[in-house]
């Protein structure tokens, strides 16, 4: 049975069928028919205060749930405001469907009011995109968009819908199947390759697991844990993979790379076998590529064939969904363990001891002071309060690195950040999306004073929907990460990094109608965070942290990852 229906309504029906629960959006001229259909439709629409934040919120939602996040914007400026968000989703492989309005089909190309070539502009920042010129194609396209966004290596898909397509009336019959002949979703991985991988793992004396965002996307945490426990392999998780193994697991070392721990980076340098799972050998992890893991053979498991061999050529490539590959691999390992596990057991034990020694020599320990609040102190308090259970959405910069170093996540999908693109202003809107996804969870937005000022408008969204997000501003009065680089690599010529004129947070929060507070004494930190968490609604906590603190260890850009700067350079005494 089919009945006459508007394009806008049809679009909503397709979203319902795809299991979408809410749309983060901002209306405008050409999406008026869509919003008219939304008026009495059960689909929930969340009105944000800027389209970029709609896209970020959809990503917060997607990361927290594993479902496809949905955002929408009008044509022209609405669509162009989505771009940063789309690139962000592309870089971090986050499943998002973005719906944009377009001027009526007969006006396309005429420089009409609020017209932009959204289809052309978003070609390079989407996994795929569509311009729907016929209403008859709309349902098919929406289902394709969700399928492409959520399968394989996830990513953003944009659907551009002209006004007259929203308004058109047609008979709607639900689409039962889609056919994308050229879109291949690799599945379980080649059996022979998996067997060879098991062989290489048993042969290794100093194996190391290097796990990333792919573990989170494919839901392979349990399988990963099984692997590291089965063979007792030390593991590092990338910035995107934090939580893939519980942060307090005995085999988990830390994040590797530019701000990774000494043990993680020394481990990767000395290992003889890297088991790379859902990672892309990003430059922030490898440092100088030619010196990365010089003694290691590499097994690289990834669902995206174009990632394999892109930066590091593996001895053993396996194309497949990492969860299904690990299921197979674990089975083979369990089966061969009685015969094989003994061979290198001694060497592997020595390797684990070596890593433990590195961890003891240079532990990742938060700096705490009696006199001033150290930013590391703030994140370790958040860690203590949340007990690994809270969602932490971070912005970009020093506070992001400290959060990644010191907050231990007990499960995946709790740590939400902008990794690949590093787009400031991500933290607060992502926290909003995550809180919608998980109303039961405690959600922190950990932001710097720079990124916070990029997302201040979203405080209204918090109030609007009564979202109890705890916004913790690590306020050092600087664009800290930029300043850190200027100090270390540009002879301390700090330029355009001082953020004066920060608002009075108590008044700012009060202006929006909720509670805010500024603290600057270490003794106040724990009680203030407690107060924020106990508050029923949103809370804005401005923490005045030590303005000169820098993130260590640090691998200078272009260095090998074992060439870490472990602590701030000592000041050179001036001769009298």
């Amino acid at each position: 049975m089919s009945s006459l229906m508007s394009g806008a309504r049809m679009l909503l029906e397709c979203l319902v069928r795809e299991g979408a629960e809410c749309i983060f959006g901002y209306p405008g001229g050409v999406t008026l028919p869509f919003y008219d259909a939304l008026y009495d439709h059960p689909m929930r629409h969340v009105l944000v205060r800027h389209e970029e934040n709609a896209c970020f919120a959809a990503q917060g939602y997607a990361i927290a749930t594993g479902k496809v996040g949905v955002c929408c914007a009008t044509s022209g400026p609405g669509a162009t405001n989505l771009i940063t968000g789309m690139v962000n989703a592309m870089m971090d492989s986050t499943p998002v469907v973005a719906l944009t309005g377009q001027v009526a089909t007969k006006l396309i190309g005429s420089d009409a009011f609020q017209e932009a070539d959204t289809f052309g502009i978003t070609r390079s920042c989407t996994k795929h995109n569509y311009l729907v010129k016929n209403l008859a194609d709309l349902p098919q396209v929406i289902h394709e968009a969700f399928y492409i966004a959520g399968t394989g290596r996830p990513g953003p898909v944009l659907v551009d819908v002209p006004k007259d397509v929203f308004q058109g009336q047609a008979r709607y019959s639900p689409v039962s199947a889609i056919h994308l002949r050229g879109y291949k979703v690799p599945a379980e991985g080649h059996t022979g390759q998996v067997r060879r991988a098991a062989q290489m793992i048993w042969e290794a004396q100093r194996p190391m697991v290097y796990a990333g965002g792919g573990i989170v996307s494919s839901g392979a945490s349990a399988e990963l844990r099984q692997l590291v426990e089965l063979v007792d392999i030390p593991a590092v998780c990338t910035l995107m993979g934090l939580g893939a193994i519980p942060g307090d697991h005995a085999n988990f070392i830390s994040m590797p790379g530019m701000h990774g721990s000494y043990a993680a980076n020394m481990g990767l340098t000395q290992t003889d076998l890297i088991i790379a799972l859902g990672v892309r050998f990003d430059d922030r992890v490898t440092g100088r590529l030619s010196s990365f893991a010089p003694h290691a053979r590499v097994i690289h498991v990834d669902i995206d064939p174009s990632e394999i061999g892109k930066n590091r050529v593996p001895e053993l490539p396996i194309v497949g969904d990492v969860r299904r590959v690990l299921e197979k691999l674990n089975k083979v390992l369990a089966g061969t363990a009685p015969a094989m596990a003994g061979a290198n057991a001694e060497a592997r034990k020595a390797w684990r001891d070596q890593i433990r020694r590195w961890q003891q020599e240079h532990p990742l320990a938060p700096v705490v002071s009696e006199a001033e609040i150290k930013p590391q102190h703030v994140v370790s308090e958040i860690d203590r309060l949340s007990g690994g259970k809270a969602i932490v959405a971070s912005d970009v910069g020093q506070h992001q690195m400290w959060s990644a170093q010191f907050i231990r996540f007990s499960e995946p999908r709790l740590w939400i950040n902008s990794g690949g693109l590093g787009s400031m202003g991500f933290g607060l809107p992502a926290a909003i999306g995550a809180q919608f996804a998980r109303p039961d969870r405690l959600v922190f937005a950990v932001v710097g004073d720079g990124g916070f000022q990029m997302s201040i408008p979203e405080l209204a969204t918090l109030v609007n929907y009564g979202l109890p997000v705890k916004v913790v501003i690590m306020n050092n009065g600087y664009l800290g990460m930029v300043r850190q680089w200027q100090e270390l690599f540009f002879a301390n010529r700090t330029c355009a990094v001082q953020l004066d004129g920060f608002p009075d947070v108590e008044k700012l929060a009060a202006a929006y109608g909720f509670k805010g507070r500024t603290i600057d004494k270490p003794q106040e930190l724990a009680p203030a965070l407690r107060e924020a968490v106990d508050e029923a609604g949103p809370y804005l906590l401005n923490v005045r942290v030590c303005p000169t603190e820098n993130v260590f260890p640090m691998v200078p850009a272009g260095s090998a990852i074992n060439e870490m700067v472990l602590a701030p350079p000592r000041p050179v005494p001036v001769p009298k």
């Binding site: 029906e13 319902v16 069928r17 795809e18 299991g19 919003y35 939304l38 008026y39 009495d40 439709h41 059960p42 689909m43 929930r44 629409h45 289809f119 052309g120 070609r123 390079s124 996994k127 795929h128 995109n129 311009l131 289902h143 969700f146 399928y147 492409i148 639900p174 689409v175 039962s176 199947a177 889609i178 056919h179 994308l180 002949r181 050229g182 879109y183 291949k184 979703v185 995206d304 064939p305 174009s306 061999g309 892109k310």
Partner: protein
């Protein structure tokens, strides 16, 4: 080094832009590009000649295969393949040179498609290098104009594209709620 890429793509808007985007995003200059429909009108065959860093040739192919509209992409540079190009040219031919020009055209297997008092219009197909030589020779006769098609290539090793099967959409049976009142108003 010039890489010859052969692609089988869905005839969809934006497909060409996506494919060239893989190359232009890296700042590669496309030497030539030809597209035409296949027997199946929903598909097109594309041949791209492009100057790619040899180390990245494989990656470029993989990134093209990844595109939703691409059914098959192969690097024909070092494989068994025929590569052909067509050139159309106008040569000014005064009476004393006409015989010589026709002789040269014959050597290269070119056809005369127009003849006038001023000169000839010629058409030749062949190996791109052979055509280079032909163009050089014809240019030596004086006033000259040519347009080339860019290369079309075909692998001599038949490889069937592996295509994906249809997949069912989600929630086919889900009941849609109606008349639930104002939700977002």
């Amino acid at each position: 080094m010039i890489q010859v890429i052969s692609l089988l793509v869905e005839n969809k808007p934006g497909a060409l832009m996506r494919i060239t985007g893989v190359l232009t995003a890296r700042g590669y200059n496309i030497e030539s590009l030809t597209v035409a429909r296949t027997l199946d009108p929903e598909l097109s065959h594309m041949t791209i000649a492009v100057d790619v860093d040899p180390a990245l040739r494989g990656l470029v192919i993989k990134q093209m295969i990844k595109l939703i509209n691409v059914l098959q992409a192969s690097d024909l540079t070092d494989s068994r393949a025929v590569v052909r190009e067509m050139v159309l040219m106008r040569v000014k031919a005064p009476a004393d040179k006409r015989t010589a020009i026709l002789k040269e055209a014959e050597i290269f297997g070119a056809r005369v498609i127009d003849s006038s008092v001023e000169g000839f219009a010629l058409e030749a197909t062949g190996d791109p290098e052979k055509l280079d030589e032909f163009v050089d020779i014809m240019r030596s006769y004086g006033e000259f104009e040519a347009t080339r098609s860019g290369v079309v290539a075909m692998s001599l090793e038949g490889k069937k594209p592996r295509l994906s099967a249809p997949v069912p959409t989600r929630g086919g049976a889900e009941k849609l709620e109606t008349n639930t009142g104002v939700i977002n108003g």
